[in-house]
């Protein structure tokens, strides 16, 4: 599969989503993101942020609408195409979904191993990442023995380690201190500058205010609008 990573990264048109035979949780979502875009996705609990993230992360299939990612319509994907596209996405789940019997090191290394990287390279990259994020002391610890904040950082590191084309973070800083949160945001920002499209869902107004990226509002399953940050608004005034 030839992957296009120039220009439009993903394109959602009239996307709707329902679980089983239940009501639609997303309605008529239209969203286009280019390479290197960095956006926040905000909305109250139950608005559908996680469902939208899961569609973008190729975890769930929309019940209707058109979804193009990496230049291709997902309905044309076979199993191999789907796997390859997923390898280009870094997903940070709201519940982290770390593998409990693996160490922090091995959890972070997973995307690289799945991608077929050499062990030597994996070692270097993972050590560097965990050290930079302040987790070098707990590299050999397993998730059950880590604090919630540490697990969140490991999950973020795992999402970012392979420098994905698309990085999706569901509440990426909800359980960590300000200093670590800033480190994480700096990591995401650097990736964005290198061409990674970053989508972060958050309730953290301080985060939104501090980082002047477009903010998309989701309410009752609909994108109600896009705003700039208060700072941007103030600057515009």
């Amino acid at each position: 599969m030839t992957v296009s990573i120039v220009g439009v990264m993903l394109q959602l048109e009239q996307i709707a989503m329902r679980y089983a035979q239940g009501p639609e949780v997303l309605h008529d979502i239209n969203l286009t993101l280019d390479r290197g875009d960095f956006i926040f996705l905000v909305g109250p609990s139950g608005a559908g942020k996680t469902s939208l993230m899961h569609i973008m992360g190729l975890i769930h299939t929309p019940s209707r609408g058109s979804f193009r990612i990496f230049g291709r319509d997902v309905v044309t994907f076979n199993r191999d195409d789907l796997s390859e596209s997923r390898r280009r996405i870094g997903m940070m789940f709201q519940d982290f979904r770390l593998i409990n019997h693996l160490t922090a090191f091995d959890n972070v290394a997973l995307p690289l191993r799945i991608g077929g990287a050499r062990e030597r390279e994996i070692k270097e990259l993972v050590y560097e990442m965990l050290e930079w994020l302040g987790l070098s002391d707990v590299m050999d610890a397993k998730p059950p023995s880590l604090s919630t904040g540490q697990r969140q950082i490991v999950a973020a590191a795992r999402a970012a380690i392979s420098r994905p084309n698309l990085l999706l973070g569901d509440e990426p800083t909800s359980n960590i201190d300000t200093q670590r949160a800033r480190r994480l945001m700096r990591l995401f920002t650097e990736l964005s500058k290198e061409g990674t499209t970053v989508v972060l869902s958050t309730h953290n107004d301080e985060l939104i205010d501090r980082y002047p990226h477009p903010v998309y509002h989701l309410e009752k399953g609909r994108l109600t609008g896009q705003t700039r940050t208060p700072t941007q608004l103030a600057a515009a005034d």
């Binding site: 796997s83 997923r86 280009r88 997903m91 160490t103 997973l110 799945i114």
Partner: protein, 290 residues
């Protein structure tokens, strides 16, 4: 060695796989060893069927004993059914009778028969009755020692053990593969959440199947080696016991060098087959999963 992505060595279903394989491989190797011993015995029976002993009871005490032996040898060498004939010398004769009569004391001169070991043509169907008559024309009390009766029964037993041993060995190996199939399928179901997560991260079926391959290989080698060494101890103990009961006319039972090589290959081959089985099972099951 780094951990597998799936905790196969920690779940109830798969954690006992090495021990199950050790047990089955133990039984399989013992069965195949019994078959190999029986096969070796049959080979010796085959060879012994082609060997008879001509006995000249009075040649040892009569004045014309050497002449009688020479005449018998002439008759034997003229026979188309005889490949070779060898006179058993005094020392060898003493070794044969020693278990019954003890060591020969100085000055003791027992009247012993003269024996001639005769090798028959393996492709021929000798008429031993007719040969014995021709020998008696030359030396009236010459006899040919035939061990058909006891050899026949022993041969049938050896055939039986060989067939049962091979069948049992194959069945046990197939059972091992069946258990690997079942455990792989169950493990996939038990670790569905982790498998799904890995798939969300882009893992292909081959990557996931390799987890089961690696575990099956590790379990197979570990269990196989344990089972093999335990089986070898059992076989050696049994062989030692049997040899202590041996009569001089019996065949010496044991494992030939080729048998040792064959048995040593069994755990390795079993481990490789288990690895292949785990891979095929995992790929098939993953292909059916959404």
């Amino acid at each position: 060695m780094r951990s597998l992505d799936l905790p196969l060595d920690q779940t109830a279903v798969s954690r006992f796989l090495p021990w199950i394989m050790a047990g089955l491989l133990y039984l399989a190797v013992v069965a195949l060893a019994a078959a190999a011993i029986a096969d070796g015995a049959l080979q010796l029976f085959d060879e012994r069927d082609k060997m008879v002993t001509v006995s000249l009871p009075t040649a040892g005490i009569s004045e014309g004993g050497d002449r009688d032996v020479a005449n018998i040898l002439e008759v034997l060498n003229e026979s188309n059914d005889v490949v070779s004939a060898r006179v058993v010398d005094d020392d060898e004769l003493q070794d044969l009778i020693e278990p019954w009569l003890g060591e020969r004391r100085e000055g003791e001169d027992l009247p012993l028969p003269r024996l001639i070991d005769v090798t028959l043509d393996p492709l021929g169907r000798p008429d031993l009755g007719a040969l014995e008559r021709r020998l008696r024309d030359v030396v009236p009390d010459a006899t040919i020692g035939i061990q058909e009766v006891s050899g026949g029964r022993a041969e049938r037993q050896a055939n039986f053990f060989r067939a049962v041993g091979v069948t049992l060995g194959i069945v046990l190996l197939l059972c091992t593969l069946a258990i690997v199939t079942i455990i792989t399928s169950l493990s996939l179901a038990m670790h569905d959440d982790t498998v799904t997560l890995l798939r969300y991260m882009g893992a292909q079926d081959g990557y996931l199947a390799r987890q089961f391959e690696r575990y099956a290989l590790q379990s197979g080698l570990r269990g196989g080696l344990i089972g093999f060494f335990a089986a070898m101890l059992t076989v050696l103990a049994v062989l030692y016991s049997i040899q202590n009961l041996e009569m001089t006319n019996s065949i010496r039972l044991g494992l030939r060098p080729v048998d040792w090589v064959f048995l040593a290959c069994v755990p390795v081959v079993a481990a490789l087959l288990c690895t292949l089985t785990a891979r095929i099972t995992a790929l098939w099951s993953l292909g059916r999963m959404a």
